[in-house]
Symmetry: C2
């Protein structure tokens, strides 16, 4: 539970944007949680019990089909909230959501969030903008998946993760990067070597550190950036 005066310490962009009068709907119902890597947030087909406002860490949203093909369609960090379907009135999870990079956050029960959105136009508007931003992110994942090279997609992913972490270290194995991008593990290894050779990252077993972010942005080109700019427009802009 968080009192109004405790909001100063909050990093989550959505919680930050909640107005004082709306805070009573949300704040008192938040439960601080530690989120370990690989921790499951949502399971496809199962009800969504809580929405998670992340502070630190990165959650992966993964689309799965009946033959178990899977690929990451989006990531969520301190800029957003999990449980996007709740915002649209659906309590069933469609995607698999889990922590890709461990961290922490605050969670709120599904009924409380839905009730709050129903009662406050301000909250609904805020969360809808967040949902819209996430939808744009998914669209651009579709674009990158269809058009970009492995190297560019990897760069895009690293940038999105970097945006959402506090350090330059990305604690992930090649294996998990491969699963998210929907490519071979060996392919990721080779691509990372390329990044290392160019001085963009350094690596240790199970970890990768971003050294030259600008260089990575150049690799990603315009496959990175649009969803980020649009989210900013939606949340900050007029």
């Amino acid at each position: 539970m968080l009192e109004a005066h405790a909001r100063a310490g909050i990093r989550n962009r959505l919680l930050h944007k909640i107005s004082l009068e709306d805070w009573d709907y949300i704040g008192p119902h938040l439960e601080a949680v530690t989120l370990k890597e690989r921790q499951v947030i949502e399971v496809p087909g199962k009800p969504i019990t809580h929405a998670y406002f992340l502070e630190i860490g990165v959650a992966s949203v993964v689309a799965v089909d009946a033959e178990d093909h899977r690929i990451e369609v989006g990531v969520i960090g301190y800029e957003g909230v999990t449980g996007v379907p709740l915002i649209l009135g659906d309590t069933r999870a469609q995607h698999s959501t889990y922590m890709q990079i461990g961290g922490s956050g605050h969670r709120i029960p599904q009924e409380v969030l839905c009730g709050a959105i129903a009662k406050s136009d301000g909250l609904r508007s805020l969360f809808q903008k967040s949902a819209q931003g996430f939808m744009i992110q998914i669209s651009h994942t579709a674009l990158a998946n269809g058009r970009a090279k492995l190297e560019q997609r990897l760069a895009r992913w690293l940038l999105m993760a970097h945006d959402r972490t506090t350090s330059d270290a990305v604690p992930l194995t090649h294996e998990f990067l491969a699963v998210m991008l929907g490519v071979r593990r060996a392919g990721v290894t080779v691509a990372i070597h390329g990044f290392e050779r160019k001085g963009l990252v350094t690596t240790r077993r199970g970890q990768l550190t971003i050294v030259n972010r600008t260089g990575i942005e150049q690799v990603a080109g315009s496959f990175y950036g649009t969803p980020e700019a649009e989210l900013k427009r939606l949340l900050e802009g007029k």
Copy 2:
């Protein structure tokens, strides 16, 4: 403009689901329109002036980035409505939307739709479910783009188009199919030959006819079907 008694002739699933009391918000403001192929519905970065409830035809929603990479992320037909961002409180178009297969429908001005959604919980709920369904479609486009072979993606596209047309004929050139799938025109030609050889489709210049839908479904496998089933659950189901 459509009077309440005229709804019987309507094919659009969303208009159909509008309750009698909510109809006054929408029906009187509908303008019947013919929609020719290639007709532009939304331009990225520009305001969305109208939402289009399609009766016949297929609209393509195409993601574009700063370097003009583009790929279709979703299609809309009689089951839905264009202008999904409006439902989420954004009046700016993010994607390029245009008619891929000509047809007809009814359009409603942006302000009227937004106002109606603000006033009626029933309408908001309905349109939000539609938006949620569309989001699932985009996710699965991302999945197919990342994981499926050209042949499977083509099959998926044909099935989605077929779902939304009244005849088995799909009036499209290889060139446009290629643009939507984000592949070479020549690649589409070869894939279609494969379909022809298997007796799944027949072709004429600028047109393709679906002969064996079940066969095409087998090619697409589980890359097709999930969004369709989920939309049904959202709109029909409990």
